[in-house]
Amino acid sequence: MTPRLEVKKTYKLYINGEFPRSESGRSYPALSADGDVLARVARGSRKDLRDAVRAARTAQEKWAAKSGYNRGQILYRIAEMIEDRASAFAEQLAAGGLTTARARREVGESVDRMVWYAGWADKFIQIFGNLNPVAGPFFNISAPEPTGVVGIVAPETPAFLGLVSRLAPVIVSGNAAVVVASESQPLPAITFSEVLESSDVPSGVVNILTGSAEELVPWLADHMDVNAVDLAGASAEVTLRAQEGAVHNVKRLVGKSGYSDAQSPYLIAAFTETKTVWHPKGL
């Protein structure tokens, strides 16, 4: 009796809540640690990136207008969905060379990290915003607002925790993101995009492109409608090129010193702008 033939998944890009192939028609093989072909994934192009930025920009205003409570709930749901698909993620990470135990641990950490950032959604403003006691009969308040559209260069490794660690602090405050996934281990990123799609995350808030960071990041860094770029996952050359391109619309650059495993509300603040409002107090 011949074994049942498996119907293998096609791994595509995640843009605006949909799963298109690259408009360039290109793909490349995602390899296991032993060099076996796990699957082919899309090789995103500058046009895909352009479409992703447009989707992010369109989605960002409404995402930011949601209450912190609502965004926190959505991030918590992402965590629930990751937990639900823990074995799929663990398998993919193990194929990338981790032991099963380590892979499972990484997935658990990713869930917890998402939960951690979810809890900040309705609180970070209480830490980073405040009333200012100016010298005069004025009410003066400073509050952080999301900067807008943020490009994220995901770390090559850890292939899943790294992505979650850089994405969560960006979107929790109301930014929309365009992510360039790990080139060597792209599968967890695409599986993650399926999680996002089932987690009440509005279309366009997160967009994930697989492909070459060297090819895509310059376009991201040069894009006049991207407000900030997180370079924690970028190589030295890519970082340098990004810094040059970012100058044109004065992008905020974060993560220039590379990826670390820390979680911190300061990573949330890094992608916000502080707005200060004055109003007289008087009759």
Binding site: Q73, G119, I127, K281, G282, L283
Partner: protein, 490 residues
Amino acid sequence: MAKNLPAPKSLDWAYAPSRESTDIVKLEGRYGLFIDGKFRAPLSRKYFQTVNPATEEPLAQVASANAADVNRAVKAARAAFDNGWGDLSGVERAKFLFRIARMIQERSREMAVLETLDGGKPIRESRDVDLPLVAAHFFYYAGWADKLEYAFPGLKPEPLGVAGQVIPWNFPLMMLAWKIAPALAAGNTVVLKPAETTPLSALLFAQLASEAGLPPGVINIITGAGETGAALVEHPDVDKVAFTGSTAVGKRIATSLAGTDKRLTLELGGKAAHVIFDDAPIDQAIEGVINGIFFNQGHVCCAGSRLFVQETIHDRFVEKLKRRLNTLRVGDPLDKNTDVGAINSAEQLARISELVEAGQEEGAEMYQPACELPGNGFWFRPTLFTGVSQSHRIAQEEIFGPVLSIMSFRTPDEAVEKANNTPYGLSAGVWTQKGSRILWMADRLQAGVVWANTYNKFDPASPFGGYKESGFGREGGRHGLLAYLKGLDE
């Protein structure tokens, strides 16, 4: 083609009694005390009855905890604190609280119906206001459990230990959430006593908490009346007391804590001033005033019970208020169309009636809509008084019912002076178009919560608590954690 239908020229229609089904609630005949993860018979061997105030029908028998029961509960809370909860990592505590929040969301309808049955508040409020806030409170504080080191600069967060918490009957489950969520997030364990007329939602909550896998002893729910509460707050192994209720009882508790080093927070009564300037958005101000005093039948510590209307618009405003009063639907709390439900108990009804009589005797003019009240149960029509003076009892004493006392003012200074002329200081409302005036008023009003161009808004992120005899300490927000951590407010 002619179409001559003898249709009526206009229509007078009725709202359906749109009764929420109570099938979703499964009541037990008799409830024990929830101690150390299980329901247990009271050592006192005594029980008391809780009734539905809309019908006076008995709902269930509930245990009456005596000092020995209280001791058992505190011991369980202490053991749970010493044996793990206090040392559990924040992220694990957070996940427990998130889980509880989720479970509350899932069983929201059931809890809302139970809350309405036991307490008399309209199902629309328990469903649309109370329960969402309960879940939100657990979600909010869940998120703090693993972030305490960011909450207060320079402070290494440490829990206090065992918290004894006593809550009132006006928002039973919501008050439970306001107490338990921050306490647990900060790493404490709790023994909570719900009010004697509204114990059931707390007991259902206890079931949920144990289903969530919460370690035994972290939450203990003991039912009983004033004596049970006194035994709890006076227990020597309670590190922290949190009380919401009347100012009179709050003062008794403060007295009994004198000489101990127990930490204390109190959320007591109020007699809030609701100030309407003549440039207010009038029709929305009317809604705000109505909500301010008739939401939850006026059983609200921060109710806008003293209305100050700028004299230039006084008569027109009062006419609109009276007109609006006539559209309020008083009746079966389970009817989704009901606006004003039952008064919580015979005692409370007597208190309200006494003060309203005093109002009439003292010369204020009473207005009530001519609505029919059901036969059984405890009911009071929404009431307003005009021609009230500061010295009238209805302007001084907290009525805690659907009764509004209306006075006029001429200048902002006068409004502030009169608003502050009370031993209470929980909340205040201001309506005006002018932003600078809102801020000027907010600066001067001696109230822990100021609502401008809105009223009765609550959010777990927003600190709530009083000035003066309305109590001390804040619940909600980052500030709400202060009460449950060491090293502050000694």
